[in-house]
Symmetry: D2
Subunit: 261 residues, 4 copies
């Protein structure tokens, strides 16, 4: 084997007898009691602590991803917890495995769109043309444009104006937010659907993640963090007020009824 060895190296965290270091900070003195959980997530992903403005916007982005009611993934988590209550980690794992293409549960699509379109030297004045090109390209390839429109929340996704307002107030509304808005209005024009294709929460999260310089490949990770908290919340409710056995028994009975008759 003439393969050259590559050095294995990590800067995430390490410890010795008397201290624990995380990303260069002393866990006990610099982090505990000083950083909230969202700030710690920012530190883990970006390798530095956030400014107060970044902290507020990043916590809002993550908060948008926590709770979505009785989704397939929380039902799956509750059913798994019914079978293996001694392994709560397995129930959470089952839940997050339902994050996939069906519900466009992540903002990676819109973040990718924006991050691939905007170059270091892209000017604000370039954005309207970029938006038109993006829309035209998606129409030509008959693919849907990520980040706009919503099944239920019409004509406005209530999370979007709030997220954009927070970004604005905290100096984090730049080219990505602008391009996302322009894509939505260009799409409404091109498809002749005025007021029907507003930026949805996914699009807003993709834009704000981009403003925070988080690579689009990690946007699904933000969603996993948020959903994990939501799933643990649902398992807490399942402990107080279980529903999984009822869902199972009804489904089993109806599914096999035709065999018994």
């Amino acid at each position: 084997m003439a393969r050259a060895r590559k050095k294995i190296q990590s800067s995430m965290g390490w410890s010795n007898v008397s201290s624990i270091t995380v990303q260069g900070l002393d866990l006990s003195m610099d982090i505990l009691g000083k950083l909230n959980l969202g700030d710690f997530a920012f530190l883990e992903i970006k390798g530095r602590t956030p400014t107060p403005e970044e902290s507020l916007v990043f916590n809002a982005v993550l908060g948008t991803l926590v709770e979505h009611g009785m989704t397939p993934m929380v039902i799956a988590a509750r059913l798994t917890y019914l079978g293996a209550p001694e392994s709560l980690q397995g129930a959470v794992a089952a839940g997050i495995l339902g994050m996939g293409t069906t519900f466009a549960g992540t903002a990676e699509g819109s973040a990718r769109l924006l991050q691939e379109a905007i170059k270091p030297d892209t000017m604000l004045s370039d954005l309207p043309l970029l938006a038109d090109e993006i829309v035209a390209r998606h129409i030509a390839s008959k693919t849907s444009i990520p980040g706009i429109g919503h099944n239920l929340h019409k004509p406005i996704d209530p999370r979007t104006p709030r997220l954009f307002q927070l970004a604005q107030e905290n100096g984090l509304s730049g080219r990505y937010v602008e391009l996302m808005k322009l894509v939505a209005s260009a799409a409404e024009r091109a498809l002749n659907k005025p007021g029907l294709l507003p930026v949805n929460a996914t699009g807003a999260i993709g834009a704000l993640s981009s403003e925070l310089e988080i690579p689009w490949k990690l946007c699904r990770g933000l969603a996993v963090i948020g959903r994990t908290i939501g799933i643990v919340g649902h398992l807490a409710e399942e402990l107080r007020n279980p529903i999984a056995r009822e869902v199972w028994e009804r489904t089993e009975e109806e599914a096999s009824e035709h065999n018994r008759s």
Copy 2:
């Protein structure tokens, strides 16, 4: 089927055309920009927002659980991400599945010990006797006492005094913290190991979770939340500086060497 149907009901979250409600709060106006991620986790688990003191302590508890360096679970997550980078949720799931009995990764053991020992009418003056009983019972059954001692961090786990200090400063140091400390000193006396069995981070988390009235069955959920953030952080580093392929190739080469010779 004469089985009586049970009503399926949840209060976690729901939405209509113009708004999203989470635990009775308006997501956009009451949560985003107002609650940090740890506070939102508190809301999900307990059904109400935390006080400022609870917020500080709960965020510190969760923060203790985020980053532990290059553990087996983050190596497993990185290897899984190597194979399926399109499904980041699968890599995170693989990582959290390594939370089990080997590394006592959760505080559920110490939280259970404390919550089963302290009754509503237990007085501070009852705690020394309770501690002695707990220690005697574990010695008799030859089981280890959860929450005390540490392989590496001797004679003090640096996280413990910090967590206990934060609890003290925020009025959340009560019977559970006291009992945890008393168990440690009783164990040192009974086993004649002075200074060798201090309360470790797991014990501190178990005690603080109990002060926050979180059922011990959910303590593993807190650990899952923390570890999920840490795993996403490691995947962010893996994107910048991959090591999984090197770990795999070295292992594969050495494992099969004897077959080739």
Copy 3:
């Protein structure tokens, strides 16, 4: 670091340019077309191919574990597949994570009981006394005896006589099968429940796995293999005749109804 390095070595499989070796056999010539899937599983777990008798019994053991109708774990797998159809492996993973303590889904309990009781020099004539001791010990500690009794299948679990018959016909009915039967009858006598505590399928699998000299710690692995096949079968049906969306929508509607009124 004065830690002594341990050699990493594996004998499972390796390959070179022109051949692939599995457990010392040539995959293409010795395995494909010659071993059925159950035999291959035997080879993987025990490091040798089975005799024809072992093959028949081992395939029957695994076959008992494949299909159990609309269980919580297959519903969880279907819901996960709904969300992430591009990652079928995630749906299967979600399904098997529901194998835990609730449904005693594995035979590890009864296999452990038998394997810890029978020593190399245990004689057939020792077994009745052993059975009485086992039953008495469980009654004293108020724990249930694994491998006997069944909620639905009374007075006989139809799989048990068939599995025991196959073992008998193939010369694999020895001390473990005998002890399992004796435990069941001793329990019925001691608890005064004649005909109500027969050996169930789990007990039969535990006994047959022990006859095949499979360590009890791997019995859950046999169940995982069987269930994985069953889950893939359910996903095949879900492709033809989907039910997950209906289960989700009914549950979501009923769960949030009280919020809307």
Copy 4:
């Protein structure tokens, strides 16, 4: 809610007091002792038992997918088992989650290619032109052609001739096998790589699965079944001869070395 309810129905399996029915067969009498594990998988996926010829070919297809040596996914499974040995199902789940796009671990790509190309009325004489079109399309879109070429196994993947031979001997070598072979030779001509792009095992499995009329969306399920058996085999070896702790400790030491110096 004016949503029309859809009936929930399944034909996989059900049971009553005295019997268990799987796919219309009596589990104890028609399956146990009569069907091997591969045949049972065929029954689960296709809803009928295989002919002897189908049984042989299908078991060979699944057998090709079981063991691949010390892959990233089995290392991940071993690391997970180290952390949570009480939840073997979690270790297997972690392992199969590494099946993704990197290692083209499944045959779904080639099966899809073949199944989308061949229509009910496609004749053998149509296949050469189809193959040329497929190759030209992939070259034009700069995408790789699934099912041909191999990093290590050159000029021949030793599994392919064996699988094709078994299909031939059992009357299951038809249009799909022919087209797969034609695609390989057309690609070698078009790319001027004579002898360098033979059908690999993945291509052979895709072709044989298509001959068995298994929808391409389920081919990843076949891989999951095979890999699950392989992972359980590796966990059996890990029990006898553990390596996970060594992999972890080496990785951790080297990764944090630079912090300690």
